[in-house]
Chain length 220, copies 2
DNA sequence: GCCGCGACTTGACAGCGTTAGGTTAACGTT
DNA sequence: AACGTTAACCTAACGCTGTCAAGTCGCGGC
């Protein structure tokens, strides 16, 4: 009777919704912890449920299946990556922007190995299936689109060698140069077969190599 | 009675061994086909066995477990890759050799997507655990070691910019530049989120970029 | 002619992701 | 205040997986 007015009492449906959102959040947190600790494949629904004292089936009231759970975490990380990159967008020089984006991208990968893995290293797309969720080319949400835009700007300013005309091709070249380092390091860091050098130093070198290899010679 | 001599009759133990090797081979063939068609994860021991009209458990008489089966296929492919690269070893100029090795490596990846995937894109090392099987730095067996040797030769000849001193670091940089393209394409080729350009063309561009970015300027 | 060995099968185990159906507590309505 | 509805959660189970202990059976060697 305190202040129900004509709408629902504040402590009813709204509170219930908040409760639901809370357990949903707890599931996501537990899943993330276990995914990071033991890998996605090795983490079972039962283990996630046990960690928050629920029955496995309870998870299915909040997520369609395990894939949807992964997808949700992916979505969050994807926005986090885009947010980390967007700050760099203010840098005027496209080449310097690319350099800084590359470093930020690599930092994200090395700091979030597990997420990086199921974002970019698995065959099934863990990108949100709903096209309305992540808007292509909106730099706030689509880091790849942001890179393409930056490359496009560089192309327009004539910063690149003449054989580079296609912004997608050049963006894919730059991106995959870093992705190779990050993903190989994530997958094979413990493999004694390769003598690894400090990956962040190699990333810095790789970015320089790629910029030197793509920019127009006369304005080096 | 034809020609048993003092050793065992030829149609006995030897034949039996050949028989065993034959079914072992059939298992490997079936596994490879299914792995390529449906992916490693989606391929079950039961499916492999059914394809050659055996019971699942029969496989375990020839391979310790599924992992060992994968590992064996990996080992074969690994030698195939090294063999494909070794022919290029005759090219005198290290830089040109690197270029050709890169193309051959990319061809291998695009032509053997499934194998490439579980050789280089999975966390658990599918490299043969037995260190005696693949000899490190023997170019006939270790493609990475072969690349390192080539890079080392280029370093000794002073072909690279002065900031590159470490043959491992430079080899990892070159390798991962291509690995990024190949692995991203394998994992995300069907992802509508990225507008893919022809990967082989991009590979050629990437190799040029990396060589141009690492070689000494004055002998361009 | 018997023995042993080894390739192969039978039948089962524990664990996985997932689901149909039941329980229970809180809600809006009367 | 008692009702029926809703939805969060649980119980029990399904079909599937990789794997194994124990059995079958036929061939080679003594």
């Amino acid at each position: 009777m305190s202040a129900p007015s004509h709408t629902q009492p504040p402590g009813s449906a709204a509170r219930r919704e908040r409760q639901k959102e809370a357990t949903r959040s707890r599931i996501l947190d537990a899943a993330r912890e276990l995914f990071v600790a033991n890998g996605v494949e090795a983490t079972t629904m039962r283990a996630i449920a046990a960690r928050i004292d629920y029955t496995p089936t309870a998870i299915y009231h909040h997520f369609r299946d395990k894939e949807a759970l992964i997808e949700e975490l992916c979505y969050v990380d994807f926005r986090a990556l885009a947010t980390a990159l967007i700050r760099i967008g203010e840098i005027a020089d496209p080449l310097e922007r690319i350099r800084r984006m590359g470093m930020a991208y690599a930092d994200f990968g090395f700091d979030n190995k597990s997420q990086y893995q199921f974002m970019f290293m698995t065959q099934t797309s863990h990108m949100p299936k709903d096209p309305a969720r992540v808007e292509k080319n909106n730099p706030e949400q689509d880091a790849y689109g942001f890179l393409v835009l930056t490359v496009e700007e560089g192309l327009k300013k004539g910063l690149f060698r003449p054989e580079f005309q296609d912004e997608h091709q050049l963006a894919q070249l730059l991106w995959s140069g870093l992705h190779g380092l990050i993903s190989l390091y994530i997958a094979k860091a413990d493999d004694p077969w390769i003598t690894w050098r400090d990956p962040r130093t190699t990333v810095r070198l790789a970015i320089d190599v790629m910029i030197r290899g793509t920019r127009r010679q006369d304005l080096a």
